[in-house]
């Protein structure tokens, strides 16, 4: 009886551990596949993000306050806000307090580009 119970408990516990390790197998497989690529740490989205970060720094003077175009999809609203603080800019939700309105336009080749429009009254 006890030996039977030990076998059952050991196998059932092992099953829990094996099922829980399934995600690790998936991650290892996906990681191995990525390592076969020439540039595993780069993809289109990352290149686009880095392009927008560089363009924002070039388009708006450091120390400025920007207003992020609220009609943008959340991805670019949030990325512009994130990159702004990394480029010594700050972000306001009040266009009247901003020196620039910043947006992202997608080109015909589906590449995002930063569009910064200077505002008259705001802080630049």
């Amino acid at each position: 009886m006890t030996v039977f119970a030990r076998i059952v408990i050991a196998l059932a516990g092992l099953a829990v551990l094996l099922v829980s390790a399934g995600g690790a197998v998936d991650a290892a497989t996906a990681g191995w596949e990525l390592l076969q690529r020439p540039h595993p740490s780069t993809n289109t989205v990352f290149r686009q993000m880095e392009g927008v970060r560089r363009e924002l720094g070039a388009a708006v003077r450091a120390g400025s306050v920007i207003y992020v175009d609220q009609s943008l999809e959340p991805l670019w609203q949030q990325r512009l806000t994130e990159f702004a603080y990394m480029q010594d800019l700050s972000v306001t939700v009040d266009p009247a307090a901003a020196g620039y309105q910043v947006s992202v336009q997608i080109s015909a080749r589906k590449v995002p580009h930063v569009v910064a429009v200077a505002l008259q009254e705001g802080r630049r």
């Binding site: 516990g13 551990l17 990681g31 990525l34 595993p40 993809n43 603080y85 306001t92």
Partner: protein, 458 residues
């Protein structure tokens, strides 16, 4: 690639003095180093926010404090048991395989919108960080979230003088890996009276379970795996009846300072274990709780708001508002989908084991698991309440977070399952003083070639 490797080296070395002083084991100290570095970087961020100035100055102060505390500890610490070089090699290498996913592009949503964004404004100094934390435009970023996942990234960017998301990605993954290895070590140490091979295998199995619920979030800069692994690693010794050591308290502090759910889990642990009488040092579990509360106060003083605090429907919960209680069914379904099978199966194993293998478990020096399952139940209850009162659309909220925040349930369940596998499969140590003394008297000390026989009365 080179910058990521340099960043990893920096993080390991930055935490090495105190890691070594705490463990007196060089390989374990290398594994613990990134977590210690992250903890001190988080302390530097909090000091910067409170007293002003540049992050670099406070990083230097934090490092000096670490050297001072390491010097004091080096005089009296003994080497941590059951964490030899062989143990660490067996535990760390298998866990590296799923970590290969850390080479993926650094584009994860929360990593950018929360953790690396916070790192960006922390690196710019106190004035910018304070302004950002209270800015309405930054509300989406949860500026009230604790600083530990962002702090090491901010420190590296500050030292390098530039933002590099690949560095952020590798630093976040390394700190998480450090917590996962410490989880595996905690399980191996809890099973110190079983055979080393089985104890190491159990440690690896529990470590691999970190990828169970949201495998792609572990290495992509999210903080959920970090705090969940650190929490369970820090909780295991206390749940298994030992007084919390400095390392355990450090791990629990990492959890409390990595995400609000981590703070809840650490609070649940401290509350439950204070009910457990006759445990010396249990009061120390309030130190990590105090660290989490201190951050919450600092964040609030700086104007950071939490979505639950500003929009949480506590009153509606208490008045049985159907708009709140109607969210219960999808919440339970989502939690069942991510953690239900593993948790309930492990609970069944634990119950069966407690009935038929109780004495055998005692022979391995393992106490009962009531407190462990108490933490599982209490944390699950907190998750359910959080989803009920959340101001967000329930479908969106569950889809974007339930798999990640339910990870501690699976990890605790796997700790339980791993101990029962060892109890059932291994041969109990035969030495005087163990609970099954009768068996110990009959069975000679473990002969390597002897067949496994069940001699322990149930």
């Amino acid at each position: 690639m080179i910058s990521s490797a340099l960043a990893a080296g920096c993080l390991i070395l930055a935490g090495l003095p105190l890691s070594y002083a705490l463990t007196r084991r060089l390989v374990l100290a290398f594994a613990l180093g990134p977590l210690v570095a992250a903890l001190f970087a988080a302390s530097a961020v909090v000091a910067m926010l409170l007293f002003g100035g540049a992050l670099g100055i406070w990083l230097a102060v934090a490092f000096a404090l670490q050297i001072a505390s390491a010097s004091l500890l080096l005089r009296r610490r003994e080497a941590v048991p059951d964490a030899t070089t062989a143990d660490l090699l067996w535990l760390t290498i298998p866990l590296l395989l799923p970590m290969t996913l850390a080479v993926s592009p650094p584009t994860a949503w929360d990593s950018h919108s929360i953790w690396w964004m916070h790192a960006g404004y922390f690196a710019k100094g106190a004035a910018v960080a304070r302004e950002a934390m209270s800015a309405p435009a930054v509300m989406f970023s949860h500026p009230d979230y604790p600083p530990l996942p962002s702090a090491p990234v901010a420190a590296l960017w500050q030292i390098a003088g530039r933002v590099d998301f690949r560095v952020a990605h590798s630093a976040s993954a390394l700190v998480t890996y450090s917590a996962i290895v410490l989880l595996a070590v905690a399980v191996r140490q809890a099973l110190s009276q079983s055979s080393p091979a089985l104890a190491r295998a159990a440690g690896v199995a529990v470590g691999l379970a970190t990828w169970a619920t949201a495998p792609f979030s572990v290495t992509s800069g999210y903080s959920d795996a970090l705090w969940a692994a650190a929490f369970v690693a820090g909780a295991v010794p206390s749940l298994f009846g030992r007084a919390p050591r400095a390392i355990d308290l450090g791990l629990l502090t990492v959890a409390a300072l990595s995400k609000n759910e981590g703070m809840i889990a650490v609070g649940v642990l401290a509350l439950l274990l204070i009910l457990r009488r006759g445990r010396p040092g249990a009061w120390r579990l309030w130190i990590p709780v105090a660290a989490g509360v201190a951050w919450a106060i600092v964040a609030r003083l700086l104007g950071a708001t939490s979505d639950l605090r500003s929009g949480g429907r506590f009153t509606a919960l208490l008045t049985f508002d159907p708009a709140v209680w109607g969210r219960l069914e999808p919440t339970l379904a989502a939690l069942w989908s991510s953690a239900g099978i593993a948790t309930v199966s492990a609970a069944v194993v634990a119950l069966t084991g407690a009935v038929v293998l109780r004495a055998r478990r005692r022979a391995f020096g393992l106490p009962g698991e009531g407190w462990l399952w108490g933490v599982v139940a209490a944390y699950a209850g907190c998750l359910i309440v959080t989803y009920l009162i959340s101001p967000h659309d329930i479908t969106w909220h569950l889809a974007t977070s339930s798999s990640r925040v339910s990870l501690p349930l699976v990890l605790l369940a796997c700790v339980s399952a791993a101990t029962w596998v060892v109890v059932a499969a291994d041969r109990p140590p035969s030495r005087p003083g163990v609970a099954c003394a009768e068996a110990a008297a009959r069975v000679p000390a473990r002969p390597a070639q002897a067949p496994a026989t069940d001699t322990v009365p149930m």
